[in-house]
Structures are given as C-alpha cells and as structure tokens.
C-alpha cells in the first residue's frame, strides 16, 4: 500500500523534508509534527504535561495552540534608517502619576476650589468603580506651587525641583491619552499596544527588530524598584516584558530588586566554570537533536538562553560592580543609589547598561496610584524619583550618551482634576484619568526644551495636538530607526505590529 506523506508513522512514511515542496510547507509540517508528537503519545501524556510545565509556559503554548510558530519573514536585525537613538531607557511610573500636581500647570483652578467640574467638560466620560458612586466631583487644585525653569520657561511643580532644572533637556508631552481607565488594561496598552495580554511589548519588538549590540548581556532588561509600603502599589507582572507571540528570546530579562540580581546565576560550590561549560555543551547537543527532530523554534530559543545565562555569569557581576564609580556619581545620584533595588540604584544601573550597549532598559517604579492622601504620598514618590531622574539624564548628558540614548518617562494614565473621596484644604485624592496625562522624553533625537500638546483649563480634555498611545510608541520606534508600519509579525492571520491595526503616526513635533 502506498504511504501517504502525512502519515503519522514517521518510521515508514516518506520523509516530507526530502520532498520538493515549498519551504513554508515544510515548516508547517514541522509544526504539525510537534503537535502530533505531543498528542500522539497520549499514554505518557501526564508525564509530558508535567515536563512541559517544568520547561516553562512557552513550551506548552507553542505546542498546544499551534498558532504561529515561525516568523512570516525574518526580522531585519538592524534599523530601517539611520536612527537617532541606538538605545532607550524607559522609566515606567506605574499607577498613573497625577499630571496636575507635577506638570500640567493650571493656576486658574485655585479659584474653582471645591466647585463641581462642569458636566460639559466631563461629557460622557466613563468613571471607575471608585468614583462612580460620588454625588459631587469637586475640583482639587494642586497643593503645590509651580515654577518656571530654564530658557524654555517650562512650568514644573515644586515637587520636582531637580527634574525642573533639566527642563531644557526634556520634551514634555501634555497631551498623551489612552483608551483604558483601569491599571491592567492601561499598562498593557502602554507597553504592548493592546489591552489584552499575549502581545509582545515595546522592548521585545525592539530586540526582535533591531537585534543585540552586546553578546554578553540581554538586549532587553527590566529593573524593578523595591516597594515602599507607604505607597499604593499596583502589581506589575512579567506580562509587561513578555515577548508575546514572538520567540521568547526577545522577552525582557528582569533583574531582582534585592539579593542576587539574577537567581542561581552564580555556580554552586564544587561546580567550576569548566564543568558548567561541559554540562551546557551536552545539554545543547541534546537540544539540537530535539530541534532536528521536531523543528520547534522554541528549542533554539532555549539553547540561546542557556548560552546567554553562561555569559551573564561573568557579565552581570561586572555590570553590578559599582566600586569603580567616581565620587561624582554618588554626588549626583545620591546615597540611595548605593542600595540595590532603589529607584536611584536602578537609574544608575540603567546608565551602566546603556554604556554597555544594552538596547532597551525598562525601570518600573510603582506606587503612583494616589486615590487618597495625595499630600502625604506624592512627596514620598517624588523624593524617590525626582533626583534620580535628574541624575540619569544629566549623567548620560555629561558622559556623551544622551545623544544616542532615548530616555522616556511616563505611566499608564493620568489622574482626575476632581477629588476622589473628601476634599479638604490639606488633602485630596485623585482617580484614574485616561483622557490626558503627561509624559516626557529626552535625548535620542527628541526636540529638547519643548512642551507638546495642550489640555483644557481643567486638565481634563486635550485641546491641541493629542498624542495617542499608538502615536507615542510609533515615535519611540521612529527614534530607534524603525518604521512602525514595517516591523510586523504574522500571527493569528494578522500582520501584527506594536501600534496595532488602527492607524498611528509618528509625532514629528517631538523630533529634533
């Protein structure tokens, strides 16, 4: 009897890989085989499932979903055009910093203290569950005064005296706006361009599209800031630095905020580097065999990740060794920078990573979710971040790195002008506000010393030059030499991209 080429019995079947069929079909076939192998050996399914969960979620998903397991076309691994920024540092202020208290100066609000915000301004705005029950929406002017800084005369809150000093280096966007009103969808949208989980984040797209500039460190690294229990910390998760449907080698590598920067990175007692090398060679050989047999690209990712971990055993300790930093470093970053896990320490590490050509560093600072007690919490947050932000940008600038490094500061949304909960002369709270929030960028081809976009007198609606999350991300990609419409990956029948299917445009008004 003639064998069908797609017969599951691979021993007797014709080898499809040898047939003169298009390479795309062969890859499809390899992917099919993966699934058949997985399901076919149902007798051992429990054992396999256990093993798959040990291997990590990627292995499970790659097999079970059968979704795109190969790229429609390979990434370029270099910019589409000469970039202004070779690398980027994204200071992510998770929780939603209140733009009215930090950047968006509205002196006129003082007269309107405790008055209800007009319905015409609020329109049909969706409210969160936290303020939907409020009968009144009393206007809470900022508790802090603002000052003008630099030649640009930028108004900055007294809470950010140091950030204000570098106003002439910043490109401030007052008209950023988002579609989501709650943390998780909003933070996903900001990072991955989509409110639903499963899409690659900005850093993953960058490392997929541009490739690495340093073989000994990951292309995309994530630093988390230690929690301050006086602040209202919203959780962040590894979904935010996930590679989504891209190969897992493009996911961000998170450094821990306390203890070992990378768990189990140091060799245990009795295992020297040669033993480790031999072990890895053996594991790689087995993995290569698996790849030959099953053709699952995740196997290759696994091999490259083992190799990266091996190289990181020497590169990470060197990266984290701050003993050679001159005194001027501590003068500018402050004493906090000596303590691992603080925001100042993370900013210093971000600078050291930029020096070592790490393509993308994302620093997470949580706690900006000031629903209540703004006057109690906001100064704490600003104390932790203001000096460090200033130090990072200034340090990059004096070391000549700001020319080709893009620094981005921002959260997932803004906060309301009206008070959540009671409004007193001393204190107030602010709820989530998606319609406008302030972000800033510095260096890497951005127009320094400018403010882009305007909001209305209540800092509620954008009245000039709105910047959507899509536009924001398209502009970041542009600075890095990527045409956001060209960097795509076929998944679920769509040429997926960071900026999504809705048209987005590079905000040329931000560019130098």
């Amino acid at each position: 009897m003639k064998q069908h080429p797609l017969c599951t019995d691979t021993e007797r079947a014709l080898n499809v890989m040898g047939l003169p069929v298009p390479a795309e079909l062969k890859r499809e076939w390899a992917a099919l085989q993966t699934r058949r192998h997985f399901l076919g050996r149902s007798g051992k399914v429990l054992g396999l499932a256990a093993m798959a969960s040990l291997l990590g979620t990627e292995a499970l998903r790659g097999d079970a979903s059968g979704a795109s397991t190969y790229a429609a076309e390979g990434p370029l691994k270099m910019p589409y055009f000469a970039p202004k920024a070779k690398r980027a540092i994204y200071l992510f202020m998770s929780g939603g910093p209140p733009q009215i208290d930090l950047w968006d100066y509205k002196p006129g609000l003082a007269k309107l203290y405790n008055q209800d915000i007009p319905d015409s301004v609020r329109g049909a705005q969706q409210l969160t569950g936290m303020t939907a029950g409020q009968a009144h929406f009393p206007i809470a002017p900022s508790h802090w005064a603002f000052k003008q800084y630099g030649e640009s005369g930028t108004w900055v809150s007294d809470l950010l005296p140091n950030t204000g000093r570098m106003a002439d280096d910043l490109t401030i966007i007052k008209s950023t706006n988002t579609d989501a009103i709650n943390h998780e969808p909003a933070i996903m949208l900001m990072n991955t361009g989509n409110m639903n989980a499963g899409k690659p984040c900005l850093g993953a797209w960058l490392s997929y599209g541009l490739g690495s500039m340093n073989d000994n460190l990951p292309t995309f690294m994530v630093l988390q800031t230690k929690l301050n229990d006086k602040e209202n910390n919203q959780p962040v998760s590894s979904r935010l630095w996930s590679s989504g449907f891209l190969s897992s080698e493009y996911a961000g590598v998170g450094l821990r905020s306390s203890g070992d920067l990378v768990l189990y990175l140091s060799d245990p007692d009795g295992v020297d580097r040669n033993v480790r090398r031999k072990m890895l060679d053996a594991v790689n050989a087995i993995n290569h065999e698996t790849y030959e047999e099953l053709g699952d690209p995740e196997t290759n990712s696994r091999i490259s990740q083992y190799e990266m971990a091996f190289r990181m055993q020497t590169s990470v300790p060197e990266l984290a060794d701050l003993s050679k930093e001159p005194q001027s470093t501590w003068d500018i970053y402050g004493p906090d920078a000596k303590e691992p896990g603080t925001f100042a320490y993370n900013c210093l590490m971000a600078r050291r990573m930029a020096e070592r050509n790490v393509r993308f560093v994302q620093v997470y600072k949580r706690g900006w979710d000031v629903h209540g007690n703004v006057t109690g919490t906001l100064p704490l947050l600003c104390r932790e971040t203001d000096r460090a932000c200033y130090a990072l940008v200034t340090d990059l600038k004096q070391r000549g790195l700001l020319d080709d490094t893009l620094v981005i500061w921002g959260g997932e949304f803004g906060r309301t002008v009206y008070s959540q909960g009671g409004l007193t002369p001393e204190n107030y709270g602010r709820d989530h506000h998606p319609r406008c929030f302030t972000t800033w960028m510095a260096g890497g081809g951005m127009r320094a010393g400018t403010t882009y976009g305007e909001t209305d007198e209540y800092s509620y609606n954008v009245v000039k030059d709105p910047v959507t999350v899509r536009d924001f991300n398209a502009t970041i990609l542009h600075a890095m030499g990527i045409d956001h419409n060209k960097l795509t990956y076929k998944s679920q029948g769509l040429d997926q991209k960071l900026t999504g299917p809705v048209p987005a445009s590079v905000v040329t008004g931000l560019l130098a």
Binding site: F81, L159, E231, N357, N373, R399
Partner: protein, 504 residues
Amino acid sequence: MMWWQKLKQLRPRDAAAAIASLRRYITERVPKDKLTRTVWATTFVLSLVLLLLPWLVKLDGHAHADWEQFLGRFHPLIVHLPIGLLILVPLLELAGDFEPSLREAAGFVLWLALLSCVAAVAFGYLLAYGSGDAGAGVTRHLWGGILLTIAVMICLLARPYWTHATSSNATRAYPWMLVMALLTLTWTAHQGGALTHGKNYLTQYMPQPMKRWVTVGFFSKPPAVNSFYTKHINPILDNNCVSCHGEAEVKGGLRLDSYEELMQGGEHGAAVMAGKPEQSLLVQRITLPPDHKQFMPAEGKPPLNAEQIAWIKAWIAAGASSTATTVPGVAIHESQDRPLVPVPDYSALMPELQQMQAAQGAKLVQVSKNASDGLVLNTVDAPASFGDAQLAQFEKFAPYIVEVELARTAVTNASFATLAKFTHLRAIHLEGTGVTGDGLAKLTALTQLDYVNLSGTQVTKAAVAPLSSMKNLDHLYLYNTPAEPAVAVVPDPTPAPTTEKTTP
C-alpha cells in the same frame, strides 16, 4: 436589396478584392511619377497647414466654447493610440525578418498611427484652445504633436523605398525617419505627462543616489536663497499650485513658480497685495469653502492645510518680501541635522568583512538597512583584547566606517593615526581608554567628524585644543578628565510631605 443588406453579404475576401482593384486602377491608370508627385504634394500641403496652425488659430490663453473643452477632454484618451501604434511599428518591421507577413502589417499600422496622430492633434488643439491653456509646456507639447504627425507622414512616404528597395541610398531613409519619429514621440509624450502630473512626477520618488546624479546632470538649479519665501512659501506653491500656474500651464494667466511671476499676478489682477493678506486674491482663493467654484487648488486637488495658509498669510502681512528670513508670528522648527554623507559601496568586501569579525571579536555592523549609511565598529563584546593592532586591521574598511565604539578598549594614542584614515567617520567613542591626547590633532583631517567622546581619559586642555578648529565637531565630551574634572552636582532637596498620613 438595399445597400446595407448588400454590405452584410460582403465577405472579407470581397473587401480585399475591392482594395486590390482600386490599387490596380491607381497603379495602372495613373502614371507612376504623377502619382508620386501628387502624394508628396498632398503631404507638403498638409504639413504646411499643420505648421501654420498655431498662427492660424492662435492660443490666446482665454477659455472658449464649452463644446471645444468637452471634445478636447477626449485628448488624453485618444493620445494613447498613436503612442501604442507607433511603438508597434518598429517591432513589426523587425519581426518581419522572421515572419514576412508581420512586415506587411507594419504598413497598415503606420497608416493607423498617422490617422490617430491627426485625431490627437485635433483634439489636443481643441483642449488647449478651449480651456485657454497657453503656457510654455502646452506650446512645447503642441509643437511636438505637429512635428510627430509630419514625421509619421514622411515615414509613410519613405517606407515603400525601404520595403521594395531597388537602390541602396534610398533604403536607409525610412528606418532613420522612424527613429526620429519615435524620439519625437517620447519627448512629446513626456511633455504631455509633465502637463498632467507635474514636472517632478517622475523624479519625486527616485532613489537618492540616482536623483543626485540626475539633478546634477540635467536640472542643476541656481543656489537657493535663505529667505522665508524660498524656504517656506515657494515650496508650498510649487507642490500645490505650479502644475496649473507654472511654466508648463498658465491658467488664468497666473504663474506662481517664481517670486517675480507671483507678484506680477494674472488676468484677474494682483495675486498678492503686500501687507494685506485678506485682500490678496491668492489668500482669498485658498480660503474659500472647498466646494466653491473658485476654490484653489481646483479640480479636487488637496487643499492647503491650516499651517500652510497661516504661513502664506503671515508672509503677506509682513510685506511679502523675497529676502526677509523671518516672518513675525511664525516659528518654524528646522532640523539642525547635517545630511549624512553616503559611504562608498562595500558589497564586494562582505565575505572578508564577516571573516574579520570572527577573527577579532569586534563587529562591523550596518548603521541601517541602507548600506550607504555606513558601518559601526562595535567592540563592546571584547573590549580588553582590542588594541591599536586590532584597530589597524580595520583600515581596509576605513572609508565605510562612520562610527567607532572604542570605549574601555586597550587602544592608545597610537590609534589616532589610524583613525585619521577613516575618512567618513562621524563619531569616535574613546571613553575610559588609556589615551592621553597626544596626536589628537591628527583627527582634524576628518571633516565629517561630529562627535568625539574622551570622558574618563587623561586628556588635557592643551591636547584637545586643536580640535576646536573643526567646524563640524559639535559634540566633544571631556567629562571626568584633567581637561574637565567631574564637578559635584548637588541636587535640590525635594519637599517633605506636609501631612504624615498613611495611605487609606
């Protein structure tokens, strides 16, 4: 039986027989030399009529009867017939070498081409006359059409001497005439294309290197003046208005392609009244409601955007000067970037380049997909083992390297001599190296150098002094060096919380 019923019964054979009998009649009854003379005379008279046409019916630049325009607008349709037919003729003639019947067809196609030429000229003339187009482009296109028609007629006359060649001197006239006709056709068609799509249509999206070659070769423009008009107003008019109000077409007698023409105005008077934007016809027309009959740009072309209109208004309000460099109330951001100078083609060196990377542990990576953006020398993976000798190995790639990242490598002052040979260098990273600045002056040979980073080295003020003569060197970093010691920056204190409440 009525004549049309008879016609129905006719078969192709009958038609062929009729033509054959007519031909026989002419060749047998009319004396040969008389026939030739008649044909030549007719051609001469026709050519004369065509040549005098522009004087007989003058293109006066005014719109005429609607029916003329209606018919005239079929010109763009008809005009493609002679183009296609004429291109077919040489192909058929050549193919005739292999398949003689095709050469017989060529004569017929040539006849069709002549008829379609005459039709195209007639309709084209109606279009130009009817719509009142009288610009230089229209005139050129018209003359092209007339000359082409005459050339095709001569082709038809000369062809029998080529196909039934008896003497050698007569045989060459037809092919040469045909070549002339085709050249005339190309030129005329291009003129017509420039009228409808604008002069820059073909070159607008041309790849940069080709464009540079073409513009240097053919359309070298006088150097631009640094005025607001040249930089901002002229480009707006050029992109939106000049296809109808330019050298090629002069609708309404108005040209907007130069400052002098703009200020001269058109048949409705001045387009620009200096200092009075609201009374300037130009502003009035571009600010009408888009569905207004007199709205400009006309014919569904995209309207100017608010910013462009604001610039034009502000420029007119400020006196519509051709020399002023700024206009009050308009701040236009201009990029300070210098254009990148492309590096020579290095594709032949690719294999060697890859070998070199493997040998030295340093990489040469492309700045971008665009190879002419150059290469970056990246040593970050093995800085300690990369010294002067390794750098010297890359000399071969010197003209293609635009940036060297030598931070924290083992290079010394000796590397400056090598680096001076990297003629396309834009950026040099030397931070944290052992260089002390001896020989830095050699870098002054690098005219495109824009960025030098010497932070954390032992360079002194005296050593970097020669670099100050470099015009393009905008970014020189000396942080934490004897030339610029790191100064303690003491940040301002951030205010303390006013109330010591905990988060609810």
